[in-house]
Symmetry: C2
Subunit: 333 residues, 2 copies
């Protein structure tokens, strides 16, 4: 047993520590995804919620609230809020990406239809909104409203930027902030706010979540070119086939000669892909050191996350959150 | 000029009276639909917002706030909030209904794509949320969060209920409350709340908006079977062809013999429609007095709206809102 503990992963140690609160959050999630009138709603939601995501975002809220000494119950509502926002964006993403898989299972838009995914996503977003209003904390509402707008803006930006070779690292970072980092940052920040932590601590929690989210997304993008399917649940080259201009490709395009540029334009911008193109793309990424540079960026963002947390007083949860940042990049280290 | 005024329609008189505030609301809408990073957002939104809807919902908020003596500026934010929520639901509805037209123009999902409609809808919903948080009024947030959940729940319910002959008038009313009446009711109610009106007045405004919204939707459903395209911008029979079980059909199904039931099952539930089916459907609606009964329901809801308002003190805006209820049903009277 103690051996199990010793080798468990940081997010599992965090989950162990937060198990009691997380049970309460899961109960709340199940209660609030119910619908008296429309049974389709809990069907679709349960498919996704019960599929066993890591619950990373609600754990961040529970951990930061406890780290700041919070004693009440509102952090449970905020954790459920954050998970509902995340689930709503997954449902809408699957429609937008025309995905067939999510968390290793057929996606909701395939099992039901796009209509159900759009409308149940809207319902969960409304439910998240009700939950946060119940905290009666206007600062928390402001943070989560702004995060929601950043998420939606990032998603729209990605629509137009993803297949445009002019997309540079600044635009990539805006998209990533929207896709991933905004909700990580808000999840951490509201934990501090609900605990009435000092302003510089709230800011440190925000900065931790933001940097953790950016690192998380960069790792995801990198593994798409060099991961192994058995470790990641993704197939190498999915992003390339879906013509997504992620960080490794942006770095390679920045170094491309005319012939290489034509290759990227054909495969990503125009989407005319042939046999052997993925292999050639990976060769170009290696040639320009793009994978190595992307890896260095992910590590730097994880370091930034840890640095932000170190301004907080020592606390077992602070150490677990620092380990979590290491864990996020461990898959590429 | 005075003649023009004399024959103008009630919603135009209301618009005249509220012109100054509505200009401010339109300025706010334009400012908030901007996006620094994603120009696709204002493109899609402007297409819909500038297409010239009647702005009925924001007018209800401005009118009820003024009617209750409100002096501040938050009613402008709430009016913009309500219009953003409405626009977001239109964008998502067009994806769900696979519509090709909206407000007499090609719908956004055709001009851009379903992805843009989903994500820009999400963005507008987030923006509406930011606007209402700026009022700092938790009661208002609670009302609008609940309305949003009712809207989304009604839309999901409609997905499963629309083509099911077991759908009765109670389920129809739940769908209509979600589709239309919840936002009308919230738009009216928050006007009273922001003005700190007495509780029974806030309730009266809610009841007015709810009944007005139900009347509005029933009229819409009725005109689909007996309107004239030049008056309504809709083609007779659109709901029938889209297999929507609206109030006239629900009433006719309730009186149907076995043969008629088989007809409705084939055309609405199974969607196997043939030439002459629409004419036969309309004949059945007449046979059972379903159109007349639907019309009577719409008038009764309009009457209920007016009765709710009459509990408020006399005020020119109270009279205009009473006239508005008459106007909503005038198209079928």
């Amino acid at each position: 047993m103690s051996l199990d503990k010793a080798v468990s992963k940081p997010h599992e140690r965090l989950a162990d520590h937060l198990a009691g609160s997380m049970d309460a959050v899961n109960t709340l999630i199940r209660a609030r995804m119910a619908s008296r009138h429309a049974p389709r709603i809990p069907e679709v939601t349960a498919h996704l919620v019960e599929a066993g995501g890591k619950r990373l975002r609600p754990m961040l809220t529970l951990a930061t609230a406890e780290l700041c000494g919070y004693q009440g119950e509102h952090h449970l509502r905020l954790a459920a809020t954050v998970e509902f926002i995340h689930t709503a964006t997954l449902l809408h993403d699957d429609v937008v990406d025309e995905s067939g898989q999510r968390r290793g299972r057929p996606s909701a838009n395939l099992l039901w239809d796009n209509k159900s995914s759009v409308l149940v996503g809207d319902y969960l977003f409304s439910r998240s909104f009700q939950l946060m209003v119940e905290t009666g904390n206007l600062r928390v509402l402001d943070i989560l409203a702004n995060a929601s707008a950043t998420i939606a803006e990032g998603e729209v930006l990605q629509l137009t930027a993803a297949q445009d070779l002019a997309t540079d690292e600044d635009v990539y970072l805006q998209v990533v902030r929207g896709k991933t980092a905004a909700l990580f940052a808000a999840a951490c920040q509201v934990g501090g706010v609900i605990a009435q932590a000092q302003e510089e601590r709230v800011q440190a929690l925000h900065d931790y979540g933001d940097a953790l989210g950016v690192a998380f997304q960069i790792v995801d993008d990198l593994l798409d070119y060099q991961g192994q399917a058995q470790n990641t649940g993704k197939n190498v080259g999915d992003d390339f086939r879906e013509r997504k201009l992620t960080l490794p490709v942006i770095k390679a395009v920045a170094c491309a000669d005319a012939q290489e540029r034509a290759f990227w334009s054909r495969t990503i911008e125009k989407g005319r892909q042939e046999d052997g193109d993925l292999e050639h793309a990976i060769a170009l990424l290696h040639k320009h050191g793009a994978l190595e540079a992307t890896r260095a960026d992910a590590l730097a963002w994880a370091e930034r996350a840890k640095t932000a947390l170190r301004t907080l007083p020592a606390h077992p949860l602070r150490e677990m959150l620092i380990e979590l940042a290491d864990y996020v990049v461990a898959r590429i280290n």
